[in-house]
């Protein structure tokens, strides 16, 4: 029963969705503060290669993910300087981050004495809970059989939701994203909060990339995120900047990414290239459908000052 197609697909969807979820959560925090960072793909790649490198050298999952997250944060600060301090166009700045990220990750991964390309994974990602629990019918593989990161990502959703809506910090962060002039007049350090939110977003993307390379793929390949970062960016819009909806969306995309595996087992013959397309076609369709929704809930949900630089001496 536990190796039925459905159970395995759901279980694998949660794993495949986790990197997207982590990146999307980070981006939600960033965008809630009014900063649009389109560089998620680049930050994930740099996070991934850094985490993989740290994994090879330390063999420790926590250290590896931390290194990945910090690398993502570091790259996101480039965007912060460009978008917040220098006030350049955030779209262009975010795109430059993708290109730099993909160049930098390829460089780190493939250049030097011991290239990471095709290096064995240094980290074992084991299930958190005892094997006995994973043997419980149906629930075992789906609920109990995962590694710690899957659970932590789930917890991160709860924490993000609570911090955003139930703490003064969350209130401040959202105020900065809704109306920086009002936040400034209320005495909030707009720039500092935006930097912090951008760095948190970079951390999420970095950890997401790290988890993707260490737990989902297992080897480093150039450009291995293959659009996962962009899916995360789309997911933020689809989820209306709400963490819990991002969770659902991430798992759905995880399922779509894992669809090939599922269909293979089910012996349905669909060319693999079409399977590759599915998440992207789905994301495209959903983005279009969401914008067509008559309630216009999407526009109301978007932070009012998203993508707008703020400066005080507006003269």
């Amino acid at each position: 029963m536990n190796d039925s197609v459905l159970v395995l697909s759901i279980a694998s969807a949660l794993v495949a969705g986790t990197p997207i979820l982590l990146a999307a959560l980070g981006e939600i925090v960033t965008e809630r503060a009014g900063v649009m960072n389109l560089g998620v793909e680049g930050m994930m790649l740099v996070g991934a290669v850094s985490a993989f490198w740290a994994g090879v050298h330390t063999g420790n999952l926590a250290v590896a993910l931390l290194v990945g997250g910090l690398a993502g944060s570091l790259l996101s600060l480039v965007h912060a300087v460009l978008a917040i301090t220098l006030r350049v166009n955030q779209t262009v700045s975010g795109l430059s981050l993708v290109i730099v990220g993909s160049g930098l990750s390829a460089f780190i991964g493939n250049v030097g004495d011991s290239p990471l390309l095709e290096a064995p994974n240094g980290v074992d990602v084991d299930p958190l809970l005892p094997a006995a629990l994973a043997d419980v019918p149906v629930l075992g593989p789906i609920v109990f059989g995962h590694d710690i990161v899957v659970y932590l990502a789930f917890a991160a959703v709860a924490v993000t939701g609570r911090v955003l809506y139930r703490t003064t910090f969350g209130l401040s962060l959202r105020a900065v994203g809704e109306d920086p002039a009002a936040a400034d007049a209320a005495g909030l350090p707009v720039t500092r909060i935006r930097y912090l939110a951008t760095a948190i977003g970079g951390f999420g993307a970095g950890v997401g990339g790290g988890y993707l390379v260490l737990a989902v793929l297992g080897t480093w390949q150039t450009g291995m995120t293959a659009g996962a970062g962009w899916i995360a960016v789309a997911l933020v819009i689809l989820a209306g900047w709400r963490p819990w909806l991002a969770l659902i969306g991430a798992y759905v995309f995880g399922a779509l990414r894992g669809l090939g595996f599922t269909l293979q087992i089910a012996q349905v013959d669909i060319p693999s290239d079409f399977l590759t397309m599915i998440p992207f076609v789905a994301a495209y369709l959903v983005v279009v459908l969401v914008s067509a929704s008559p309630t216009r809930a999407r526009r109301v949900a978007a932070p009012a000052a998203l993508g707008e630089p703020y400066r005080r001496e507006e003269r």
């Binding site: 350049v88 789309a234 983005v287």
Partner: protein
């Protein structure tokens, strides 16, 4: 251009870190890409699709419509162009065949861009997300045609998956050596686009929308129609890039040779050229020089990745440079009388402005 110098300096530092001699590396790059007729031909051949994708990005960014789908539009253009090239009977006059091949590329690119443009125009759907998603879809589709199926495009006589070679009459004639007439087409299109933006009412509309949506609507400019028009032009340019690559360089639908981020590089080029169509040509040539040199640098122990990184750094430096250009403008602010409602310099958010 100052940004370029900064980026090259950073590149030198990275080269030094990896143990290569930066000066030697840059000299090797120069030799490989610019020294001698063959080198220049190679560079300009490589620059051709980059000019077109650069123009594709420049025209859409000018209106602050961010088509970052040139990559996918190029693939679709290549697929359509190679399809037409393979299908057309050989007894047609060559100019007609070439026109059909390039036209097919343009139409396919425009249609593919339309999948993002129409939702954007009618529903306000974010075009950055949709064009990007469509890139991945187009790539997978192209791969399917060659690697995943025995399609019309695939060469049935080869065991290794490969595109069918297009007939000789559909190959672009050469200007000099390897350099084909596609380069001339690209340059002409750059000039046409420049005139279009500068001297036509269409360009006037586009510049107004790029500066302020509301002011454009107020003035009676139809923003949705302009969005579709600009995205179509942008997609068509990328599609022509795909057609010219197939018909001038790869001779077949060759996913491996086409999926080399020509579309994304076009965005870098457009940014460096400050979205100026005529600026795109030299910048594309320069980036092409750096890239064609990449291969040659391996001989002195520098890997290709450095070139990619260098491109990223150029983009970054140029993005940051935007700030300084904007600010210089502000410092030159004339001594106007102070007013209760302070004017807000709105150029800071521009995708490059003039």
């Amino acid at each position: 251009m100052l940004s370029l110098v900064v980026a090259l300096g950073l590149g030198a530092a990275i080269l030094a870190v990896t143990g290569a001699d930066p000066l030697e590396a840059y000299r090797t790059m120069f030799d490989a890409s610019l020294n001698g007729t063959a080198a220049i031909e190679r560079t300009l051949t490589y620059a051709t699709p980059l000019i077109l994708t650069g123009l594709a990005a420049a025209v859409s960014f000018r209106m602050r419509t961010y088509n970052i789908g040139a990559e996918g539009q190029l693939f679709m253009g290549a697929i359509a162009a190679s399809g037409v090239a393979l299908a057309l009977p050989a007894d047609l006059p060559t100019p007609l065949i070439l026109l059909a091949v390039i036209g097919a590329g343009a139409v396919a690119g425009a249609v593919w861009a339309g999948f993002a443009a129409i939702p954007k125009a009618l529903l306000g759907t974010d075009e950055i997300i949709t064009t990007l998603m469509l890139n991945f879809v187009a790539l997978a589709f192209m791969n399917y045609l060659i690697f995943g199926s025995m399609s019309f495009w695939r060469d049935p006589d080869r065991p290794v998956p490969q595109g069918k070679q297009i007939p000789d009459h559909a190959v672009l004639p050469a200007i000099s050596g390897r350099l084909h007439i596609g380069f001339a087409i690209a340059v002409v299109l750059a000039v046409v686009l420049w005139l279009l933006l500068r001297n036509t009412t269409f360009g006037f509309r586009l510049r107004t929308i790029g500066d302020s949506h509301r002011a454009a609507t107020y003035a009676g400019i139809g923003v949705p129609a302009a969005t579709i028009a600009v995205m179509s032009i942008s997609g068509a340019l990328a599609g022509v890039a795909g057609a010219i690559e197939v018909s001038g360089v790869t001779d077949r639908l060759d996913p491996k040779a086409l999926a080399i981020e020509l579309g994304y590089t076009g965005i870098v080029i457009a940014a460096v050229a400050r979205l100026h169509p005529l600026g795109v040509v030299p910048v594309a040539a320069l980036l092409a020089a750096i890239t064609t040199a990449g291969g040659s640098m391996q001989s002195i122990g520098v890997q290709v990745e450095v070139v990619v990184l260098l491109q990223g750094l150029i983009f970054l430096a140029v993005t940051a440079g935007e700030f300084f250009v904007t600010n210089r403008l502000e410092l030159r602010r004339p001594a106007a009388a102070p007013q209760a409602s302070p004017p807000t310099p709105a150029t800071a958010a521009g995708g490059g402005g003039s």
